[in-house]
Structures are given as C-alpha cells and as structure tokens.
C-alpha cells in the first residue's frame, strides 16, 4: 500500500505535478529531520542537511526506479549527507575555523523542541553520540531509534551485515561505558 502510494506520488511528480513533490516531503520530512538531528546533534546542522536532502530529492526523483522502497532511497541520501556534515564539522574543528554564521551558542539555543524534559533527554543522547565515530553513530541511530534491521541498514549503507554487527557492537560498548561513567 505504502509502496504503491509512493509509486503514484513519484509518477505524478515525474509527469510534472509539483504538488506530488510537496506530498512526498510532507510524508517523510519528520523522519528525514529526526535522523539528521540524531546524527548531528543540533537543530541548525539538521536543518541544513534536511533542506539539502529535499533539494537532492527534487533533482533526482525523476531517475528513481523503485528498485528499493522510496524511503530506503531517501534514507540513503540523509545518512550520506549527515556523515558528510559530521566530517565537515570535524575538519572545521580541527583547523579551528569558527562557524561565524552559526556559532556554538546559536546552535544549542536555536531549537524546535519545545518541551524541556525531551530537550534534556535529547541533549543527553547528543553527548553520548558525540563519542562515536560517524559510521558507528550511523548504525547506532538506525538500529536504536529508527528500529531498522541489519538487512535494511545493509541495503541503505551498502555494508555487509557482519560489518554492521561489528560496528554496532563497538558503538554499543562505548555508549555503555559512557552511561556507566556518567550515571
């Protein structure tokens, strides 16, 4: 049903119906944003990646051939862009280049989360995830928060299930060490 609905939306968009693109965005925008948000840890970076993903979708949707689910395809774009953003941030930090447009205070103050208890939880999670290298963070987020199976993650990332298990194991060990030390 979902696949059929996606197929019709893409078909309409390819045929020139711009409203179909809006419908696709409305359907998936929150999942795109939250995956980027968990990967990147702050709203401003997540917003940047979300908009980039939507632009890529707009440009490439015409070549989408339904060999996978539409969301698997979108997920691939989000996760790749998020990893690129993490690396970009790491390079900026390494060379101590200040992000003049988005200084750290602005990054943490500018948020769309309104309830404080969830904000605290997400802050705590952010601190844990910051300890993980990008690839481990990717698997950890997909397994824990998006509830994806190894097979689905493998489809998205192109990595073997065995390799993903090993990555998840190392990520989990680091998370457990951190939670034990900080509780």
């Amino acid at each position: 049903m979902n696949r059929e609905e996606d197929f019709n939306l893409v078909k309409r968009f390819v045929e020139g119906d711009e409203r179909a693109f809006n419908e696709i965005v409305k359907k998936y925008q929150k999942r795109i944003y939250w995956h980027a948000r968990q990967m990147l840890g702050n709203h401003l970076d997540a917003d940047e990646v979300t908009q980039e993903v939507l632009i890529v979708m707009y440009k490439k949707l015409k070549s989408f051939n339904f060999q996978s689910n539409l969301f698997t395809w979108i997920y691939k774009i989000v996760t790749t862009r998020s990893i690129n953003q993490i690396r970009k941030n790491q390079i900026k930090r390494f060379f101590s280049i200040d992000d003049e447009e988005n200084p750290i205070e602005l990054k943490s103050n500018n948020d769309i989360i309104e309830d404080i208890s969830n904000k605290e939880k997400i802050e705590k999670l952010k601190k844990v995830l910051e300890k993980l290298p990008a690839k481990q963070r990717q698997v950890f987020v997909m397994r824990n928060f998006d509830d994806l199976s190894y097979e689905e993650i493998s489809q998205i990332t192109g990595k073997s299930v065995g390799g993903l298990k090993a990555n998840y194991f190392h990520a989990l060990k680091k998370v457990l060490e951190y939670t034990n030390e900080n509780e």
Binding site: I55, E114, K124, L125, Y168, L172, L176
Partner: protein, 196 residues
C-alpha cells in the same frame, strides 16, 4: 563492570550464539547489576520522536524554504553559465595561440641548436654515409679547392659528379629547411681531413 559492557554489547549486537543467549538471559534473572546496566542503556532509547512537542512552524515552512533555495540555485547556475562560457572560450583561444607560438619558438630554437652544436664529424657521417669512398674523395677535392681536382681526366665524369653534388645540396636545403647561408656555413666548418 567491564565484563558486563562487553556481554551486553554482544547480546544487543546479535554476536552471541544461541547457547550464549540462553545463558545470558538466565543470568539476567538473578544478576541485578547486569539488569541495572541494561536499563540505563535502554533509557536512552526511550525518546519517542512522534510525541516530542516541536515548533510545527518549522515543518510548515520547510517546503517554501526548499523551493526558494532551488530557485536561487537555478538562477546562480544561469549566472555562472553566462559568465563561465565566454571566459572558457577566451581561455581556450589564448591557450591555443600561446601553444602555437611556443611550438614555433621551440622548432626554431631546435634548428639553431642543431646548427650550432653538431660537430664536423657528425655532419660528415650524417651527410656522406651513402656515398662511396671514391666519390667522397672527389667531394673533398671539390669542396677544398672549390673546383674539380686536376685528377679528373674525364670531363663527363666531372659533370656527373658535380650534378650529384648539386642535387645533394638541393636535397639538404629542401629536407632541413636550411638557408643557403646556413648550409655554406656548415660546409665551411667541415674538416674533411678528419673524416677521411
């Protein structure tokens, strides 16, 4: 504590065998420390994205913001094309002109290098290899004395040799694009005595 981290991580990663999973779950029933560690980890997962109160205006504005970005990128692409294509064309023309001029310079400098640096022996070897010794001897006499040697007894033979000589000089002029002066200059430097 460290042991717990390892086994918990293996359990959740799916890296334990079936027997190990059974053992782990049995241990979990009685080991409160292990249970506590797992609960701490699971509490991290208790963030339900669908129930977080968020500023919905962000998502309402997402499509207009994205479309605005798409339009501005399309405009900037057009601008880049308008500036880039003529610049590229000018660059290609300049590169072509400069390369051609450089090639001519290189050709000229190579010709001069050959003229100035070939020694007499090399020239003699290069130009006279196909000529037999008797003819070589005759050329030597012609070039040194600027006239056929007195040893020429047969006038026809002399004319034949002079014709070969003229033809040889013409060939060299054609093939190497040397001027008459440059060729004369080379010939005047030839030490025939050494080449004999």
């Amino acid at each position: 504590m460290k042991t717990n981290n390892e086994i918990i991580a293996k359990y959740f990663s799916g890296l334990l065998s079936k027997e190990e999973v059974i053992q782990f779950e049995e241990r979990l029933k009685t080991d409160s420390a292990l249970k506590n560690d797992i609960e701490k980890f699971l509490s991290l997962k208790k963030i339900d994205i669908n129930n977080i109160e968020i500023d919905e205006r962000y998502f309402a504005n997402l499509i207009p913001k994205t479309r605005e970005k798409l339009e501005s990128r399309a405009k900037s692409k057009l601008h880049k094309l308008a500036v880039g294509v003529p610049s590229l064309a000018i660059t290609i023309v300049l590169v072509f002109v400069l390369t051609k001029s450089n090639m001519n310079n290189e050709k000229n400098s190579l010709s001069h290098e050959i003229i100035n640096n070939l020694n007499d022996t090399q020239i003699v070897q290069q130009y006279f290899t196909d000529i037999d010794d008797a003819t070589k001897e005759t050329y030597y006499n012609i070039l040194v004395n600027e006239k056929p040697s007195v040893e020429f007894v047969d006038e026809k033979e002399k004319e034949k040799i002079l014709a070969v000589y003229d033809s040889f000089i013409d060939d060299q002029l054609d093939e190497n694009s040397l001027s008459q002066n440059e060729l004369n200059n080379i010939i005047s430097k030839i030490d025939f005595k050494n080449s004999k």
